[in-house]
């Protein structure tokens, strides 16, 4: 009975979100304030009912209600309770419900965080978000109902895929979705601007914190996914250019471009139609990602079993939402007039280059991801585009982007002399070069290839230029100057994160060592000055799995550093084997040991890896996200809100701000 209530709640939510679309949008068009007033209550209502449906599904999982076929397919009575909860989004239907819940939460946040917006504007934004909600609710109810019954119920469930039984999986999807789905907010703001036919600097100021918030979730979500892949399924790799990884990376690239373009629009009132187009593109890429993951067209861990009907539905949804938005853009974009031009040497010009390079990068990833699908659909053969393509081509836009990033941060708005900029940057360039040389010669003693040197130089260039202004202020001890705002600190940290990331990627891929070995108990392998001694395996029992556990003593200069215990697990319900690597993490290096297969006679195939500075990759992403958090919480966005509100109430005081 209770699961049926869940379905019922979803149907009610659909009804409310239909009202949330129709009345506010119609009211905004004809100027009826009483219709527009429905926006916020309906946004709250659809959240309540979607949350109720989600809670009911979670309850079905926690109480082992295997009469619900989704629960039976993805849970088991022996599963630890935290994984039962995470299993709610461990399959297609439940993860859609999570998508909906997060969309509803963003809608709610916009509805009540936008009290300062003009009513017509808020009504349009909430109405547009409602369109997305209606589409996804229809998708869930018509093709992927998580509350379908399996009668008669099976005695026990089929269990959660062992790969997904992991703490990172508990948080990776919700955070990633918060980013993915959060891009619907700038999309809704962009559509609202097109509908109203006007877009000013205030618009950019409203849109920016929401965009940055979505972006920072996306950043953390992707980093978590990469970390999980590293220790759980990647045999030590951290990025595979898997189509599903790309599906989350493309909205990230477009979202990054959007943040930078919004900066120009907020500051200068130019790039308006471009910003709107980026907002549409970023969310369309999110939807495209959903399509790629949910339609079963891709081969991936993430591609849950699914039927073509679902793929068709999402494709239809994607073409309706993105196509409709682009049509509106084509009709209305010319009304968005720039409030001036820009000069060749200026912050704006650098940000324009940033945008072009990021879009080229997005295009490169899009081409490599979709090309095999097109070829397959046209019956021209089955191909795959592997990491070599992405690794080489992705650098073409990214290297100049990183170099320009350092310079652009120090360029002034409006205009500046090229010489002045060069003078400012020369000392930073010297410091960066010295830093890279020190790393190259003193720490790593030589480079594998020219790319190593280039990567180190570019990485330290970004780090040094990001920290240049704050450090100079600190050392000069000049307290009279205006302190850096949170937005400036945010920019500094986000760019510092980029630099750390580049250093991490360069060092790991240049100096990392991977080796597959056949090892008998007692055998020793030496890698990068570490001695790995295999002491044999023993059988151990976990909560819901049995495992062979290897024991490896790791020594350096004869001193015991650590003992690593990788496992080869067999999960009892699905009887599928799984490799659980043992990792000794560290900021300067990771040591990684994984058991492969038994080779007979007590010998095993063993993969051993030494990964220097690997942690910098995820550390960089976290620092970027923290920068985003600072930027999104900058006072001016919240001041601006109060200012607008008071301006609406008491118009004559608006000048004082």
């Amino acid at each position: 009975m209770i699961p049926e209530l869940g379905q019922f709640a979803l149907i009610l939510a659909l009804g409310l979100s239909l009202i949330q679309v129709a009345l506010p949008l119609a009211g905004a068009t004809v100027g009826r304030a009483d219709w527009m007033a429905y926006a916020r209550p309906m946004a709250a209502g659809q959240f309540v009912f979607i949350a109720a449906a989600f809670a009911i599904l979670a309850r079905s999982f926690l109480s082992d209600d295997f009469s619900v076929s989704f629960v039976a397919a993805h849970s088991n009575s022996a599963l630890p309770w935290a994984y039962k909860l995470a299993a709610v989004w461990g399959g297609h239907e439940g993860s859609l419900l999570l998508w909906l819940l997060i969309l509803a939460a963003w809608t709610l946040a916009v509805a009540f965080g936008s009290r300062s917006l003009p009513d017509v504007y808020a009504a349009r934004v909430i109405g547009v978000l409602g369109i997305v909600t209606v589409g996804m609710l229809l998708f869930t109810l018509l093709t992927s109902n998580p509350f379908d019954r399996a009668l008669p119920p099976p005695a026990d469930g089929n269990d959660l895929n062992p790969l997904l039984q992991d703490p990172a999986l508990v948080i990776h999807p919700p955070i990633l979705y918060a980013g993915y789905v959060g891009l619907s907010v700038p999309f809704a703001f962009a559509i609202a601007a097109l509908l109203s036919g006007s877009l000013d600097k205030r618009w950019a100021r409203w849109t920016r914190p929401w965009t940055i918030a979505a972006w920072l979730f996306l950043t953390i979500g992707i980093a978590l996914g990469s970390w999980w892949a590293y220790y759980e399924l990647g045999w030590g790799g951290w990025w595979f250019w898997d189509p599903v990884e790309n599906a989350s990376f493309m909205p990230w690239l477009a979202g990054t471009a959007l943040i930078h373009s919004l900066a120009v629009t907020e500051r200068r009132g130019i790039f308006k139609s471009w910003t709107v187009l980026l907002a549409i593109a970023a969310f369309s890429l999110s939807l495209l990602g959903t399509f790629l993951v949910r339609s079963g067209v891709l081969i991936s861990v993430h591609a849950f079993a699914s039927d073509p009907e679902r793929g068709m539905f999402i494709l239809l949804l994607l073409s309706t939402i993105s196509g409709g938005a682009l049509l509106l853009y084509a009709i209305r974009a010319k009304r968005l007039e720039a409030e001036g031009g820009f000069r060749l040497v200026s912050r704006e010009a650098f940000l324009l280059l940033n945008n072009i390079l990021l879009i080229v990068a997005t295009g490169v990833v899009l081409l490599g991801t979709l090309y095999p699908l097109f070829l397959d659909a046209l019956g021209l053969g089955t191909v795959s585009v592997g990491p070599p393509y992405f690794n080489s081509v992705f650098l073409i836009p990214m290297l100049p982007l990183a170099v320009l990033l350092g310079a652009g941060m120090h360029a002034s708005w409006l205009t500046m002399q090229g010489n002045a900029l060069l003078q400012k940057l020369a000392p930073a360039a010297v410091v960066a070069l010295l830093g890279a040389l020190a790393l190259l010669l003193l720490v790593f003693r030589g480079a594998e290839s020219a790319m190593t040197a280039i990567g180190l130089i570019v990485g330290s260039w970004v780090v040094v230029t990001a920290l240049w202004d704050p450090l100079r202020r600190g050392f000069s001890g000049d307290r009279s100057r205006i302190p850096l705002s949170r937005a400036q600190w945010g920019m500094t940290l986000a760019h510092l994160g980029v630099g750390l990331f580049i250093l991490g990627v360069t060092v790991t891929s240049s100096y990392g060592i991977e080796s597959d070995n056949a090892m008998q108990p007692g055998d020793m392998v030496e890698i990068a000055g570490y001695e790995f001694e295999f002491r044999g395996t023993r059988e151990v029992e976990g909560v819901n799995y049995d495992a062979y556990e290897g024991e490896f003593a790791v020594r350096r200069d004869g001193r015991l550093m650590t003992v690593l215990a990788p496992q080869k697990r067999i999960y009892r319900v699905q009887t599928s084997p799984m490799t659980e690597a043992a990792i000794d993490p560290g900021l300067s290096r990771d040591l990684f040991v994984a058991l492969g297969d038994p080779l007979g006679g007590g010998a095993w195939s063993v993969r051993i890896q030494y990964k220097p500075m690997l942690r910098f990759i995820w550390l960089g992403a976290l620092v970027m996200a923290f920068g985003g958090l600072l930027a999104a919480s900058d006072r001016r966005y919240w001041l601006a809100r109060r200012e607008v509100r008071s301006a609406a109430g008491v118009p004559q005081t608006a000048e004082s701000a």
């Binding site: 895929n161 790969l163 399924l233 045999w235 081969i299 861990v301 079993a305 031009g341 820009f342 000069r343 060749l344 010009a349 324009l352 280059l353 072009i356 080229v360 490169v364 081409l367 490599g368 090309y371 053969g381 089955t382 191909v383 795959s384 585009v385 592997g386 070599p388 393509y389 080489s392 081509v393 073409i396 836009p397 100049p400 597959d516 070995n517 056949a518 008998q520 699905q574 009887t575 599928s576 084997p577 799984m578 490799t579 994984a594 492969g596 297969d597 080779l599 007979g600 006679g601 010998a603 195939s605 063993v606 993969r607």
Partner: protein
């Protein structure tokens, strides 16, 4: 320079940059696209000798052989019409097994055997890589004719 001239210069640079990177990207693309062939297509001589590609099919029951204590393993991949012997040195993925679907990336030797540089098996025992399913289907329908 006037602002207008400056902008024209900027746009010119951008167009040139995009053109160069597009050319490089397409070049890398042509070099790195990997084609997929079923064992029947390989047997019919459709697969290239000089460059790598991927094959897929089922691992024949009882065909997996390994010298004790060695990392090198050999097995036979079939689409039930034709079979190809494959050898691989390294750690196999968790779900590799006899009677399971598999995709291998590598190159064809002159003697008709395949040397794999990477072996992929899916993370689900019911799963069949779509290419493999299709290859099996094609072989079956070819037999029916």
């Amino acid at each position: 320079m006037t602002p207008r001239r400056q902008r024209m210069v900027l746009i010119g640079l951008v167009v040139a940059g995009v053109a160069v990177s597009a050319a490089l990207a397409l070049q890398a693309f042509r070099e790195n696209v990997l084609f997929f062939f079923s064992p029947s297509e390989v047997a019919a001589g459709e697969a290239p000798i000089e460059r790598g590609f991927r094959i897929g099919g089922m691992v024949v029951d009882g065909s997996v052989e390994r010298e004790t204590g060695s990392l090198t393993v050999s097995f036979v991949v079939t689409d039930f019409a034709h079979s190809i012997p494959v050898s691989y040195t390294g750690v196999l993925p968790d779900l590799f097994g006899e009677g399971q679907g598999v995709v291998a990336r590598g190159y064809l030797n002159a003697d008709g055997s395949f040397t794999a540089e990477e072996v992929l098996a899916k993370h689900d025992e019911n799963y069949m890589p779509p290419e493999v399913a299709e290859a099996l289907e094609r072989a079956r329908s070819a037999e029916a004719r």
